[in-house]
C-alpha cells in the first residue's frame, strides 16, 4: 500500500506541483493585486523549470511504463516527452507574455494562473490512460483557454472569438462525450487497454457502434487540433485573442492533444485501423485543402498563420493515417518541429508589437530586413521551415511524412500533399518578399525595441529550424524510440 501511494505521488507530482503553483499565483493576485506582478511572473517561470526538473527525475526513476491508479494514468517515456514539451513550450510562450500584457495593460495574475491551470490539464492529458481522465483533463485544458481568449475585455474581436470558441467547443465536447458513451456501451470500460482488447474482438453491430464512437471522438479531437472541417474557430481565435494568448495557444495545447490522439488511437482503436485511417485521410486532405486555399488571400498575419496551421495539422495527420511505425514517428517529429517553429513565428510577431502599434497585416512587416535584420532573418528561417524549404527542419519533416505515405502505398495522397505545399509556398514567400523587398509605410517606420533575452530565445527557434533541418537524425530516432511505448500495451 505504501508503495502504491509513493508511486501515485511520484506520478502525479509534476501536475500536482503546477496545480499548487496556480493556486499560489491566484492567492498572490487576490492579496497583493498588482504589487506581486513581478513575483508572479518569476515564480511561474521558475515553477515551470522545476516542473521540467521533476519530469526529468521521472525519466530516471521510471525506465519502464507504469500504470497508475489501476490504469487511470500511465507513466512512460512517451507521456514524459509530452509533459516535457508542454512545459517547455509554455515556458517559451509565457516568457513573451508579460511584456505584451503590460503593453496592453492587462492583469498579470489571472493570466498566469489560468495558463497554469490549463497546463495542469495538458500534463494530465499526456499521461491519461482512461476515458474519464482524458475527458476531464481535456476540459481542464480548454476551459482556461476559452477565458484567456476573451482576456482583453475591451476588445470586441477577442470577446467574439472567445464566444465562438466556447460555443463550438461545447459542441465538440458533446461529440466527444457521445463518442465515449457509445464506446462504453460496447466495451463496458473506460480504460484504453480494455477498450483496445474489446475492439480486437468486436464484430458486426459492436464494431459499427465502436466505429461511430471513434468518428465522434475523432471529430472532438480534430476540433481541438484545428482540423478542417472543425477548424472554423481557429482563425478567429488566433486573430482575436490577445497576442500573448495566441502564443500560448499555438504550442502546448496542440502537443498535448496530439499525444493523447496517438495514445488513444494506437492503444484502443488500433484493431480497427483500416476503418479509421480512411477518416484521418479525409480530415487531413480537407485540412490541407482548406488551410492552404484560405491562407492565400489573407492579409492579416495571424489569420494567415492560423490557416497555415490548419494545413500543417492536416499534413501531420496524413502520417498518423499511414500509421506504420515510421509514419507515427514522422508525425511526432512534424508536430514537435512545427510547434516550435510556429511558436517562434508568433513570438517574432509579438516582439514587433510596439506601444505605437501592433503588427496586424502582412504589410506591417515591410522593410523588417532593414529595421531589424536579425529578426527578419530568424523570421525567414521560420517561414522557410513552415514552407518546407531545405535545409530547414520543415523540409525534413515533410519529407519523412511523404516517405511514410509512400511506404503505405498512398501515392495519390502524397502527390496531393506536395501540390498543396506548392500552393502554400505562395503565401509563405509573400511574407519573405514583404520583409525583404517592400518599402515600409511611413507610419510604421521604427526599429523594434527587443530585449536581449527575448531575442536570444526567439533566435533559438530560428536556429533550431535550421540546425534540426541539417541534423535531424537524433530527434527522428528518438521519436521512433519513444513511440514504442504507446504501441505496447
Amino acid at each position: 500500500m505504501g508503495n502504491f501511494v509513493a508511486l501515485y505521488f511520484d506520478a502525479i507530482l509534476p501536475s500536482a506541483f503546477i496545480l499548487t503553483l496556480a493556486c499560489i499565483v491566484l492567492l498572490l493576485t487576490a492579496f497583493f493585486k498588482h504589487k506581486a506582478d513581478g513575483w508572479i511572473y518569476y515564480s511561474t517561470q521558475i515553477g515551470l523549470f522545476v516542473g521540467i526538473g521533476m519530469i526529468l527525475r521521472q525519466y530516471w526513476c521510471f525506465p519502464d511504463a507504469v500504470a497508475i491508479a489501476q490504469g487511470r494514468f500511465r507513466l512512460d517515456h512517451f507521456s514524459m516527452l509530452g509533459s516535457l514539451l508542454v512545459l517547455a513550450l509554455s515556458f517559451f510562450a509565457l516568457f513573451y507574455s508579460r511584456k505584451e500584457l503590460i503593453r496592453q495593460q492587462l492583469a498579470i495574475g489571472e493570466y498566469f494562473s489560468l495558463c497554469l491551470f490549463s497546463i495542469v490539464g495538458m500534463l494530465v492529458m499526456a499521461t491519461a490512460y482512461h476515458f474519464l481522465t482524458f475527458y476531464i483533463a481535456l476540459e481542464l485544458m480548454s476551459f482556461p483557454l476559452y477565458i484567456l481568449c476573451a482576456y482583453h475585455r475591451g476588445s470586441s474581436k477577442g470577446s467574439e472569438a472567445a464566444l465562438k470558441y466556447f460555443v463550438t467547443g461545447a459542441l465538440a465536447s458533446g461529440f466527444l462525450l457521445y463518442g465515449i458513451s457509445l464506446i462504453y456501451g460496447v466495451t463496458h470500460s473506460f480504460s484504453f487497454v480494455d477498450v483496445g482488447l474489446a475492439a480486437s474482438h468486436a464484430s458486426g453491430g459492436e464494431m459499427v457502434m465502436l466505429l461511430v464512437g471513434i468518428a465522434f471522438i475523432l471529430a472532438g479531437l480534430a476540433f481541438k487540433l484545428g482540423l478542417a472541417p472543425f477548424h472554423m474557430w481557429l482563425p478567429d481565435v488566433y486573430e482575436g485573442a490577445p497576442p500573448s494568448v495566441t502564443l500560448f495557444l499555438v504550442g502546448a495545447p496542440k502537443i498535448a492533444v496530439l499525444f493523447l490522439l496517438i495514445r488513444l488511437f494506437q492503444t484502443s482503436f488500433i484493431p480497427l485501423f483500416e476503418h479509421w485511417s480512411e477518416m484521418l485521410y479525409l480530415i487531413a486532405a480537407l485540412s490541407l485543402l482548406v488551410g492552404n486555399i484560405a491562407a492565400l488571400t489573407q492579409n492579416n498575419l495571424r489569420r494567415m498563420l492560423a490557416y497555415s496551421s490548419i494545413s500543417h495539422m492536416g499534413f501531420m495527420l496524413l502520417a498518423l493515417a499511414a500509421s506504420a511505425s515510421a509514419g507515427l514517428s514522422a508525425a511526432l517529429f512534424y508536430m514537435i518541429s512545427y510547434a516550435i517553429v510556429s511558436l517562434g513565428a508568433f513570438a517574432v510577431i509579438t516582439l514587433l508589437n510596439h506601444h505605437k502599434g501592433t503588427v496586424e497585416t502582412v504589410s506591417d512587416l515591410a522593410g523588417l530586413s532593414r529595421r531589424h535584420p536579425w529578426l527578419a532573418f530568424i523570421m525567414m528561417m521560420l517561414i522557410f521551415s513552415m514552407a518546407g524549404i531545405p535545409p530547414t527542419v520543415g523540409f525534413v519533416a515533410k519529407l519523412s511524412i511523404l516517405l511514410s505515405l509512400l511506404a503505405a502505398g498512398q501515392v495519390a495522397m502524397a502527390v496531393f500533399a506536395v501540390l498543396m505545399s506548392v500552393v502554400g509556398l505562395y503565401y509563405y514567400l509573400r511574407v519573405i518578399k514583404v520583409m525583404y523587398f517592400d518599402e515600409p509605410a511611413k507610419e510604421v517606420v521604427y526599429a523594434p525595441v527587443v530585449s536581449s533575452g527575448s531575442l536570444a530565445l526567439v533566435s533559438l527557434t530560428g536556429l533550431f529550424a535550421l540546425l534540426l533541418g541539417i541534423f535531424p537524425a537524433e530527434l527522428l530516432t528518438y521519436c521512433q524510440t519513444v513511440l514504442t511505448y504507446p504501441l505496447q500495451i
Binding site: A69, I102, A107, L114, L140, F143, I147, R153, V212
Partner: protein
C-alpha cells in the same frame, strides 16, 4: 411483461426529454426556456432511476432542479429579458438543417446499428449497491479526476469573476519602462517657422 413496461416508461421519459430539450431552444421567452430545462432534468432523472441509478437521479433533481435552476430563474427574472425575436428569426433558417441532420442520424442508427443489434449485457450490479460503488470510485482510483473536476469549477469561477468584474482595470498609472524608453524623437519635433 415487465420488460415491456420498462420500455414503455423509457420511451415516455425519452419523449419528454427530447421535447423539453427542443423547447428550450425553440421558445422565445427566457423564463420558459429555464422551465423547459427543468423538465428536461426531471426527465433525465427519471431515466437514471429507470436504470437503477437512483442516487444520481435524486441528486440531479436536488442539485440541478432544486438549486441551480432556481438560481437561473432568479438571474433571468432579474435581467428582465423580453422576447428575443431577432434571435429567433436568425435561428429559424437553421431549423431545416437541424431537422435534416436529426433525420439523417436517426436513419443512420436505424439502418446500420439496429439490424446488428447485439444484446448489450448490463454489467452485474454488485451487492454493495451503487452508492457504495460510486463512493469507492470517486474517492479511490478516480480521486484525481474528481479533484480535476473541482479545479475546472475553480477555473470557471475565476473566469466568471475576471470577465465580469466591474472594477475598472484600465486605470492610469505611470508606465516607468515606457518613460525610460522615450527618446528625443518621440517627444520633440523641430518645425521650421517661416516668416
Amino acid at each position: 411483461m415487465t420488460a415491456t413496461l420498462i420500455q414503455l416508461v423509457f420511451f415516455a421519459f425519452s419523449a419528454v426529454l427530447l421535447i423539453s430539450s427542443m423547447m428550450v431552444t425553440l421558445t422565445n421567452r427566457s423564463v420558459h426556456a429555464v422551465l423547459w430545462l427543468i423538465l428536461a432534468f426531471v426527465a433525465t432523472a427519471g431515466l437514471w432511476i429507470l436504470i437503477e441509478a437512483e442516487f444520481l437521479g435524486l441528486i440531479l433533481i436536488i442539485v440541478y432542479v432544486g438549486a441551480v435552476m432556481t438560481l437561473f430563474l432568479f438571474v433571468v427574472m432579474m435581467l428582465n429579458l423580453g422576447e428575443e425575436n431577432s434571435l429567433k428569426r436568425s435561428y429559424k433558417s437553421w431549423v431545416s438543417f437541424g431537422a435534416m441532420f436529426a433525420v439523417m442520424i436517426v436513419l443512420f442508427f436505424l439502418l446500420l446499428v439496429a439490424p446488428n443489434e447485439t444484446s448489450v449485457a448490463v454489467p452485474a450490479i454488485s451487492s454493495e449497491g451503487n452508492l457504495v460503488q460510486l463512493g469507492m470510485a470517486l474517492f479511490g482510483n478516480d480521486a484525481l479526476s474528481v479533484e480535476l473536476a473541482a479545479v475546472i469549477l475553480l477555473v470557471a469561477i475565476v473566469g466568471a469573476i475576471y470577465l465580469t468584474h466591474r472594477e475598472h482595470r484600465h486605470y492610469k498609472k505611470q508606465q516607468i519602462s515606457e518613460q525610460i524608453k522615450v527618446t528625443k524623437k518621440d517627444r520633440l519635433r523641430l518645425v521650421r517657422v517661416t516668416k
